[in-house]
């Protein structure tokens, strides 16, 4: 039953619906010597709508319970009522800081179900955009994490550089986020004119900027004081909790799906998996900085390959590949005059096929797959089930933020209340991905 907001007012209960874990099991009462407070769901440093119920002994957190669901939008259910291609526009909205990874994992899953593979040029474009997206995602982690610790200049610099890459995304896909640019079978359209030069400019400027962040922060006494030795999560505990991504790598485990189970041709790129040993918030910051450099390396190689590899960016199969080869006319509207002439004047069957493709989309053979990509926050897995129809039967997103957030009690219980802020920032959860 949904609450109407008009129920009688109950006596104030600080932990509310999650109170059971905080009451004394013997008496059923709250302990008198500690204090229970709510942090969030609208606290500025909880990275969105995350609610933490904290039991405090003075300044020390003795118990913490994360409460999620405030951003649940039913993305998984929605995909079951849309066509396979429309599914891309839903999943991309889950982890909105890393939309290309959601699209890529979904497209890989659908392609595996259909038994097709995207053309080589499309694969390169996917890798290029994903690595640029990884940089923007790590920049957001750095910028918002910096802001929460009072490092306002880091926030300004991080978002400034992110804006450069967002401009590239806008040039290529038309949107800054929620692109729906990767489609089952390839990508929507080839890079527009001038995109290559734009990417080149950004790749030239970013290494110096990343050096700047390191100059600002690496030996900054305040930054070190707030981050070193805080929110330690050792490798064994990470594996128990299923934590992946930079948090796991900062604890010394070189687990990276791009190396372990390569997809989209990652085995042909030259890059290193960054690890550190300490497993604290500072190590996670350093891992993210170094991963941005590795992403630049991959993006350089991908950009170089795009100069040599030409050809289609969508699979050449009229039963799968849609829409046709759009070109943007002088009026700024995408169209394909040759294809329009074909369906409107030459062939009735082509028009029927076009109509079926637009309204129903493709049929995907029955089966189930679990496709994974290494997202900026760890293993993003899409479990996709088809019953043979033109809509997904089930789409489940194993989002790394959701799983990593389970580690919150581990990294803040026993620490001071002020340490919660770098701890959450270093786990870098995105609530859109957590709640979906």
């Amino acid at each position: 039953m949904r609450t109407t907001g008009h129920e009688p007012v109950a006596p104030f209960d600080p932990a509310g619906d999650v109170a059971s874990g905080f009451r004394d099991p013997a008496t059923g009462e709250y302990r008198q010597e500690t204090m229970i407070i709510n942090m969030g769901p609208q606290h500025p440093s909880t990275h969105g709508v995350l609610r933490l119920v904290l039991e405090l002994d003075g300044e020390t957190v003795i118990r913490c319970k994360p409460v999620i669901g405030y951003l649940h939008t039913g993305i998984e259910k929605n995909t079951e009522y849309r066509t396979w291609v429309q599914g891309v526009t839903y999943v991309t909205r889950a982890d909105y800081v890393a939309p290309f990874f959601n699209e890529l994992a979904y497209c890989l899953a659908v392609e595996r179900l259909m038994g097709v593979e995207a053309p080589e040029r499309a694969q390169i474009i996917r890798v290029l955009l994903c690595e640029l997206n990884r940089i923007t995602s790590h920049l957001v982690a750095l910028a918002t994490g910096g802001l929460e610790l009072g490092a306002v200049s880091v926030m300004l610099y991080g978002l400034r550089e992110r804006e450069l890459i967002m401009d590239i995304f806008e040039t290529i896909t038309g949107l800054r986020m929620n692109h729906a640019y990767f489609r089952p079978g390839g990508v929507l359209m080839d890079l527009p004119e001038g995109a290559g030069r734009k990417i080149r400019d950004v790749l030239d400027v970013l290494p110096r900027r990343i050096d700047e962040y390191e100059t600002l922060l690496n030996d900054n006494p305040i930054w070190r004081e707030r981050n070193v030795g805080v929110a330690v999560l050792p490798a064994a505990r990470c594996l128990e909790l299923g934590v992946t991504g930079p948090v796991l790598r900062s604890a010394g485990v070189a687990a990276d799906l791009r190396k372990d189970m390569p997809y989209a041709g990652y085995e042909t790129y030259d890059f290193d998996v960054v690890t550190r040993a300490e497993g604290d918030a500072y190590a996670r910051y350093r891992v993210r900085i170094d991963e941005m450099r590795q992403s630049l390396r991959i993006a350089e190689q991908a950009l170089q390959r795009l100069l040599d590899v030409h050809g289609p960016v969508m699979i050449d199969d009229p039963k799968v590949g849609w829409p046709p080869k759009l070109s943007v006319g002088p009026d700024g509207i995408g169209n394909d005059p040759a294809y329009l002439e074909h369906i409107m004047e030459d062939s009735m069957e082509a028009l029927i096929h076009h109509f079926k493709m637009v309204t129903q989309g493709v049929d995907v053979p029955p089966g189930e797959v679990y496709a994974t990509v290494e997202a900026p926050r760890g293993e993003l897995g899409l479990f996709v089930v088809s019953d043979g129809g033109h809509r997904p039967y089930r789409v489940h997103m194993r989002d790394p933020s959701f799983v990593n957030l389970q580690a919150v009690p581990d990294v803040i219980e026993g620490y001071l209340i002020a340490d919660i802020i770098p701890a959450i920032a270093s786990l870098d959860p995105v609530m859109g991905g957590v709640d979906r």
Binding site: T3, Y81, L239, G242, D260, M261, E368, V369, V403
Partner: protein
């Protein structure tokens, strides 16, 4: 170790193994689940020691009506294995694996929240994404969507679950 070799090793003990699209799936009876996961974890050839994901699917017209899916991963070798357990419509309950894989805690809560599948022995099986007082299990296929018609200028669109197959 290829996926066929993984499947062959699993099949020695649990014969209901399928390899499709490069992924191995083993179907296990509900009562064998904990024992099977422990064996898959400890068997030196497999070492399926990490749990990536738990979720379910609902097939209201079939028996079993629910399939619970466990996506296992081996950290030492890059291999995956899907474990599936079928549950009858009138008894959707299954042992919790949180004792073996603490990461399953939130996954199982989510599956309970969306499908109403009870995980026996879970430390705190409460709703996670939906409000605590929500009635119903929204990802079940027979759960009404509760949509309302959409007006657009002079046309009225029925809710999406009543539009029929376009």
């Amino acid at each position: 170790m290829s996926v066929e070799e993984v499947a062959a090793a699993v099949a020695e003990r649990y014969p209901d193994v399928v390899v499709a699209r490069g992924e191995a799936t083993v179907v296990i009876a509900r009562d064998d689940l904990l024992e099977a996961l422990a064996w898959l974890r400890d068997e030196p050839r497999l070492r399926m020691d990490a749990l990536s994901s738990v979720t379910a699917t609902h097939w209201p017209e079939r028996d079993p009506a629910f399939w619970v899916d466990y996506e296992l991963r081996s950290m030492p070798s890059p291999q995956r294995l899907r474990v599936k357990v079928g549950l009858a419509a009138d008894d959707p309950s299954i042992p919790s694996v949180t004792g073996m894989f603490p990461t399953a805690n939130w996954h199982e809560r989510e599956t309970y929240d969306f499908y109403g599948i009870t995980f026996e022995g879970h430390p705190e099986l409460t709703r996670i994404e939906l409000p605590a007082d929500w009635v119903g299990y929204p990802l079940r296929k027979d759960e009404p969507l509760g949509g309302v018609p959409t007006w657009y200028r002079d046309a009225k669109m029925p809710p999406i679950d009543q539009r029929g197959q376009a």
